[in-house]
């Protein structure tokens, strides 16, 4: 009886592994770049997928009862047109990075079912060089700290 233990355990491990992997692949949602999504638009018809990018400045248009259209752009530098009906999450704004989940319609416009806006994390400032820091925060930080070494901060 003991001899079969490794065999039983082995079978369970492989079967379990297959179940885990299999369900993850079929239950999962595609995570695509904008370029990939547009390229595979035909195949993606009717299938939910996730795409993230920055909301393009000036692209948000209110089309009526809590509906908007907007476009996003990501590192692949391609633009995706999107449509959303519903209440927007509080941090939603042009220029913010968003994660969208939805499906393509016939015109390859993304019909968004879920919007998540990425927390503009404060961890980010730490990576800025000082010029970037000044540029990012603009005028209000141009005044030097009293006791600074005389350098004019207004760059």
């Amino acid at each position: 009886m003991r001899r079969f233990v490794p065999l039983i355990v082995g079978t369970l491990v492989i079967a379990g592994g297959a179940v885990i992997v299999g369900t993850s692949m079929s239950g999962g949602v595609y995570s695509l770049t904008v370029a990939e999504a547009l390229a595979q638009a035909q195949d993606l018809q009717g299938r939910q997928f996730k795409v993230s990018g920055d909301v393009v400045d000036g692209s948000v248009v209110e089309t009526g009862d809590f509906s908007i259209t907007f476009t996003i752009r990501d590192e692949s530098n391609e633009i995706l047109s999107c449509r959303y009906k519903g209440v927007l999450p509080d941090p939603f704004e042009e220029g913010r990075q968003v994660i969208l989940q939805g499906t393509f319609d016939a015109e390859h416009v993304l019909e968004v079912s879920q919007i998540t806006v990425k927390c503009p994390s404060k961890y980010e400032e730490e990576g800025y060089s000082e010029e970037e820091y000044l540029q990012y925060y603009g005028d209000k930080y141009k005044n030097g700290h009293p006791g600074a070494n005389g350098d004019d901060a207004a760059k």
Binding site: S24, K122, Y133
Partner: protein
């Protein structure tokens, strides 16, 4: 001051290096002098790091904005408490906190072991010092909290702390979580010490026991506070989202919990020695992995941290640790041979092995799901997975889709797949605590187990009926099916959650039953002759404290699982658009939206948009009206409700109604929103300026709401009677009255109070009545949306009413429509058991660690006679 900080960090690096060298060389050469020097060095390092912390606190509190860290995470208006917690608000401070806590723990270790001048202990202290050294190197060279602005002298004011972190729970979550991670360095150090210098007379498992329990308790506390914060603060009504950052912290917890159990087996029976070494090393590596995963851009997460400079450091550190662990483990493989084989799967050790395997399985599942997006980016990996899934589909006769892009799984997948494994562990914990070494449970113990499961089954059926009942009845009424068919339909819709929840209730009750039953049996066995049950119980606690505490911890586990199960039966409304006095039904509650105001919070330095929502029982509503309230209305004929929150006030004459209505408006909503700054008799015009100007300065859109309200009431007096106009810069409004009569009535109404109202409809129905919601009967809930001047996005503060069985959870957000809010509400069952269970886990975990801290429980090995 910043320069002093930099200097001290450099000094710390030197001191820690010296300590590490002293401890390692002392261990190798067995020189007591060097060993003692190492212990002393450890303590000195801890004190030095504490001083560095004080320097950081100093620059934080004095608003030293020349310091980049201070400028990034605080501002002049930040309340003191959050200035202090900004210490760990950013990466550099968190790293300093890591260094301080690790060296602090190391110092405590050195202090308690100061008489133990053995090579083994010296290795242990040396490893801890080496751990501190690694992070100090990062601190000095890559992530220095004392960096100052060079090209300019720093901004005049800082950026402020992320509002989400300005919450007491978020103030303690990072330190607890970090200490949890840090503390696992100690058991790791003990393992490494033993592997390098195995001492037949000493067991690292016995010596590291208390540290391990402390680390586990802290890690558990960190996770639970994180859950609590997410529930209370983030506004989505959940507490665990299976986000990569959350999962990263869960991984060491899974192996750490397995480790607690396997260490207990080795302590008593000398078994599972290889598992213990493996799990202790793996848990430590996973704490580093957690930190790495959180800071790298590896996985797309909601908690977006920017690319950290430290990522490659952590990667190399982990690879080094893995290599070290593998080499040492294989080197001592033979020495770790167990005392005997595991005889029976249902013996204590057999069940613990099963538990460990289940935790390893959960580890794999969580790791897989978290890293899948990264794995499946590669075409080769996808090709392999496609092949595997295709083969599997062929075997089962299903159809396989070919995957063409990276895949990401969501919370539903995690819950679905992790759930069953966790439930198996729950079931094991109904048997394990009463299992004996070497044999399966027999006799009275077996009876306790069977009876407990039986009771569990009955309770599960009852609870399921209670949860499904109301919905089944409703569904049956609507569709005309029998109640039984409707109940089955509801159950099916909720699957697999409903099945999981059912089994959870069976097992949770069984766990509690077994714990109590075992306790009762033991107490009864002792309480014979003249000994009372009570003194027998006390004696038992004194004699076998770990068993008693272990039972309590498992009861905490059972309660937590009941909390998980509760989520299956929740009621939820999402983003329902409501205007004043609209109501929505949530389960057995009716929620009526009343009003919204904007207030400025001075101490917190934020503007709050506060919505008022009343919750009444559906069909019951407001029943009792205080007599004094009713009597306060002049000329009132009747006040009647319709079974809801709205009361209709009917007056004897139209004039009485008009007077009451005007007074209620002028002293209620109008006075809340506006101040009367000027009255022009000639033109019958009133000039209004808004109250809470400071709040409106931050949320200018809110003025639109006030104007819309003003307009709605003005219009309710009849066409053209009162004209409301608004100006945006500066904010102000005017009311122009069409007739002297109304104008005089308006002026007379100022300061003529009516009984207090929560809200009323801007309509004068049938000229002699209007609809109100009285104040002072039921207290409304007031969820808020907060706007911080320096923050980029608002945060929502939910209104939470925690009950024994159900929690009511409300949030309301302003919308682009001036008078409407978006209401989200939930009835969350069984949240209180979840938190109580969590509290028990942490509390009794700490107690378990504290037991026998003087004697280190050396007497435990083999005490129960494992043969």
């Amino acid at each position: 001051m910043d320069h002093i900080g930099q200097l001290l960090i450099g000094l710390g690096l030197v001191l820690t290096s010296a300590t590490t060298v002293a401890s390692f060389s002392g261990a190798i050469t067995r020189r007591p002098g060097a060993i003692r020097a190492g212990y002393l060095g450890m303590k000195a390092v801890a004190w030095l790091n504490i001083s560095i912390s004080f320097v950081l606190l100093y620059v934080l509190v004095t608003n030293d904005f020349t310091n980049r860290y201070v400028a990034s995470y605080t501002d002049a208006s930040l309340p003191l408490m959050y200035v202090l917690t900004a210490f760990w608000g950013g990466e550099k401070g968190a790293l300093l906190f890591w260094v301080v806590s690790l060296s602090g723990l190391g110092a405590v270790l050195a202090r308690f072991r100061k008489d133990d001048v053995s090579p083994f202990m010296s290795w242990v202290v040396g490893v801890v010092a080496a751990g501190v050294l690694f992070f100090e190197i990062l601190l000095l060279f890559a992530s220095n909290p004392f960096e100052v602005f060079i090209t300019f002298g720093g901004p005049a004011d800082g950026n402020g702390l992320n509002p989400l972190l300005q919450n007491p729970l978020m103030a303690i979550h990072p330190p607890l979580q970090l200490i949890g991670f840090v503390a696992y360095t100690i058991p790791f150090a003990f393992v490494i010490g033993w592997l390098v210098k195995p001492d037949a007379g000493r067991s690292w498992v016995v010596e590291a026991r208390q540290w391990n329990l402390f680390a586990w308790s802290m890690l558990t506390a960190g996770l639970i506070i994180g859950e609590l914060w997410s529930y209370v603060e983030l506004g989505w009504g959940g507490y665990w989202g299976w986000d990569p950052v959350e999962n990263a912290a869960l991984l060491p917890w899974l192996t750490g919990t397995a480790l607690v159990h396997s260490m207990s087996v080795e302590r008593r029976c000398g078994l599972l020695r290889r598992w213990n070494v493996f799990l202790a090393i793996l848990t430590f590596i996973l704490t580093i992995f957690a930190t790495f995963l959180t800071r790298s851009q590896l996985i797309d997460s909601l908690h977006s941290f920017a690319e950290s400079k430290l990522t490659p450091f952590f990667l190399y550190y982990m690879l080094f640790l893995v290599a070290l662990g593998v080499v040492l483990f294989l080197w001592r493989w033979k020495k770790l041979a167990p005392a005997r084989r595991i005889e029976h799967p249902l013996s204590r050790e057999g069940l613990v092995v099963a538990t460990i395997l289940m935790f390893m399985l959960m580890l794999f599942i969580v790791l897989w799901g978290t890293l899948l997006p990264k794995f499946s980016e590669s075409g080769e990996v996808r090709g392999f997975l496609n092949w595997m899934v295709g083969g599997f589909a062929q075997l089962t006769g299903g159809v396989a889709t070919k995957f063409t892009a990276a895949v990401q799984v969501g919370p539903q997948w995690f819950n679905k797949v992790v759930g069953p494994v966790a439930i198996v562990v729950l079931g094991l914990s109904a048997i394990g605590p009463v299992a004996r070494p070497g044999v399966s449970p027999k006799g009275p113990l077996a009876r306790i187990i069977w009876i407990s499961f039986g009771i569990g089954l009955i309770v599960a059926i009852a609870v399921t009926a209670l949860a499904i009942g109301p919905r089944a009845l409703e569904s049956a009424r609507v569709t005309g099916d029998s109640t039984f068919q409707a109940a089955w339909r509801v159950f099916r819709i909720w699957m697999p959650g409903s099945v999981y929840a059912f089994v959870i209730f069976v097992f949770s009750v069984a766990v509690i039953g077994v714990a109590l039953g075992d306790w009762w049996r033991s107490v009864s066995a002792r309480a014979h002759g003249g000994v009372s049950r009570w003194s027998a119980a006390i004696a038992l606690i004194k004699a076998e404290p770990p068993r008693f505490v272990g039972h309590l911890i498992h009861i905490g586990v059972a309660l937590s699982f009941i909390g998980f199960a509760g989520g299956v039966a929740k009621y939820e409304i999402k983003d329902r658009i409501v205007r004043p006095l609209d109501s929505v039904v949530l389960g057995d509650q009716t929620l009526t939206y009343l009003s919204t105001t904007e207030v400025w919070n001075e101490s917190g330095a934020f503007a709050a948009i506060r919505s008022s929502i009343l919750a009444t029982q559906t069909g019951v509503g407001i029943t009792e009206l205080p007599k004094s309230w009713v009597a306060g209305w002049e000329g009132l004929e009747s006040a009647s409700g319709g079974g809801g929150a709205l009361i209709t006030l009917k007056f004897n004459t139209e004039q009485a109604a008009l007077v009451a209505y005007m007074r209620a408006w002028v002293n209620g909503p109008l006075a809340d929103d506006f101040e009367i700054s000027q009255i022009d008799d000639g033109q019958r015009r009133v000039l209004l300026t808004p109250t809470s100007a400071q709040a409106l300065a931050i949320v200018p859109e809110a003025f639109g709401r006030r104007v819309a309200e003003l307009g709605a009431f003005a219009a309710s007096f009849g066409d053209g009677s009162i004209l409301a106009e608004a100006r945006k810069a500066p904010f102000s409004a005017t009311l122009t009255f069409g007739s002297d009569g109304l104008f005089d009535l308006f002026r007379d109404s100022i300061k003529k109070q009516t009984p207090r109202l929560l809200a009323f409809q801007p309509t004068l129905n049938d000229r002699d009545r209007f609809v109100v919601v009285p104040a002072g009967v039921i207290r409304p809930y007031t969820p808020e949306v907060r706007y911080y001047p320096l923050s980029e996005s608002p945060t929502s503060e939910v209104a939470l009413s925690a009950g024994l069985v159900n929690d009511l959870y409300l949030s309301a957000a302003p919308t682009r429509d001036a008078r409407a809010v978006s209401l989200s509400a939930m009835e969350n069952p069984m949240m209180t058991p979840l938190w109580v269970g969590g509290l028990m886990l942490v509390g009794f975990g700490l107690v378990a660690g504290a037991i026998g801290w003087r004697t280190h429980f050396r007497r435990e090995i083999g005490e129960e006679g494992c043969q």
